[in-house]
Amino acid sequence: MGYLDFSGTFARGDLFVHGVMLTLTLSIAALVLGMCVGIVGALMRLSSSKVLSSIAAAYVELIRNTPFLVQIYIVYFGLPSVGIRISEMTAAILSLTLYAGAYITEIVRAGIQTIGEGQREAARTLGMSPYLTFRYVVLLPAISAIFPALTSQFILIMLASSVVSVISVPELTGVANDVQGLTFRSLEAYLVVAVIYLALTAAFKGAFALIDRALFSFRYAGR
């Protein structure tokens, strides 16, 4: 060894393309579903019902204090022994969603809490309906406040999706595992996927920055 030989790795270019598509599918699905879980979770966490808020708190603590890898093993290998059997793709999306949901719950909760009670009262005094108040005074500023955190969360989800290769989902890292098995050149395969992940991270950071400018133009108004 000691030298690098990428010829065998590059010859499997088509596999890497499939891997990228699957990584993107998994990350976007997990983000969208994780957002839903996160919003419900945050509302439960902030609700006046003690039961709801402790359920949400327990969920967040359980997910955040155990490894994602172990969560996947429980969902994929463990659940079937109590009769719940789901395919590897469903298992991957479910575990990624549960994982992302816990972190997004905390992000959304922090976002809602940044909107003071005073602002809501002010809106009501001005005669805004509860719906309009929620939409313009609570939701939009809250989303704008949490957008940067959501952006980094998305990148973290994408990077975490590499772990689902262990339950035979052939996403980008799974492809690298397969290619190293075919070429016996392990370092080369992983260097290639590292570069691809970096490119994806850069592309998404750029895209999110553009979305941020377009959606929350009011933040940039005074500058």
Partner: protein
């Protein structure tokens, strides 16, 4: 005085130079006093943890005999199927005893000893769904262990309509079968027996390929290769290897030689 200093200096130099000159891993291992052996502790009956949580199994027992006859300590290193060759070529392991099937492709990357076991790659699936030909697996989800012989064989045969699910080690592959995540698996005959024993609803159905297994080592080391072949020959003539086969596999097999 000067002479004494010179002698000490010379001796010190020799001490540095001599081990460096020992190019064969055989000498390195003996001098080091330990041999690093790669095994899979999640691949019963080849490698497993026994009830008192010590490494055991056919492969582990063979490793211990080899260490005994080298006069060194066996350092049993758990590894995954996909990491067997990289761990050898990168020097992390001296030898790999890991139900390692001999293939011409692999032999370009590493060297194999003569066979120490001959297993089969078999299809294991639900007993109530008998299948006799590989073509009839079409439309099914079949589990294999990534980069292992069953993966290589199934990938090469590329039966139309078979969806191959690749797992990192035999432990995951058999778990996927028990969990019903795949309809069947292609695996070693030894693991197939273990699976049948555990769950009578699953049955070994047909042989996909023969799998002669050897001990893996780095290429360009004729001394170690020759010693290992000698050792395997001796273990057979003393009957120790056959005893291990009986103990772990329940059968004695003929061991063809190159």
């Amino acid at each position: 005085m000067l002479l004494k200093k010179l002698a000490i200096g010379l001796a010190a130099m020799l001490a540095i130079v001599l081990p460096a000159k020992a190019e064969s891993a055989l000498d390195t291992i003996v001098q080091r006093g330990t041999i690093n052996v790669g095994v899979g502790l999640g691949t019963p009956p080849y490698g497993l943890m026994d009830a008192s949580m010590q490494p055991d199994g056919y492969d582990v027992s063979v490793a211990k005999l080899i260490a005994r006859d080298l006069g060194v300590k066996a350092n049993i290193v758990d590894t995954t199927a996909a990491n067997r060759i990289p761990n050898l070529t990168s020097g992390k392991l001296d030898i790999v005893i890991y139900s390692f099937s001999i293939t011409a492709e692999r032999a370009k990357a590493i060297a194999f000893t003569n066979t120490y076991y001959v297993d089969q790659q078999v299809y294991v699936g639900p007993a109530d769904k008998p299948i006799t030909r590989i073509e009839d697996l079409a439309g099914m989800k079949i589990g294999v262990t990534r980069a292992s012989t069953n993966d290589i064989v199934m990938t090469k045969k590329a039966v139309e309509g078979v969806q191959l699910q690749r797992y990192d080690d035999d432990a995951s592959t058999s778990q996927a079968l028990f969990a019903g995540q795949v309809e069947g698996i292609v695996t070693s005959g030894a693991l197939a027996r273990a699976v049948e024993e555990h769950n009578s609803a699953l049955k070994k159905q047909f042989i996909v390929a023969q799998a002669p297994m050897g001990i893996g080592l780095r290429r360009n080391d004729p001394d170690l290769l020759h010693w290992l072949n000698t050792e395997l020959f001796m273990l057979q003539s003393t009957g120790e290897l056959q005893a291990l086969q009986k103990k772990w596999m329940g059968v004695e097999v003929d061991l063809p030689r190159f």
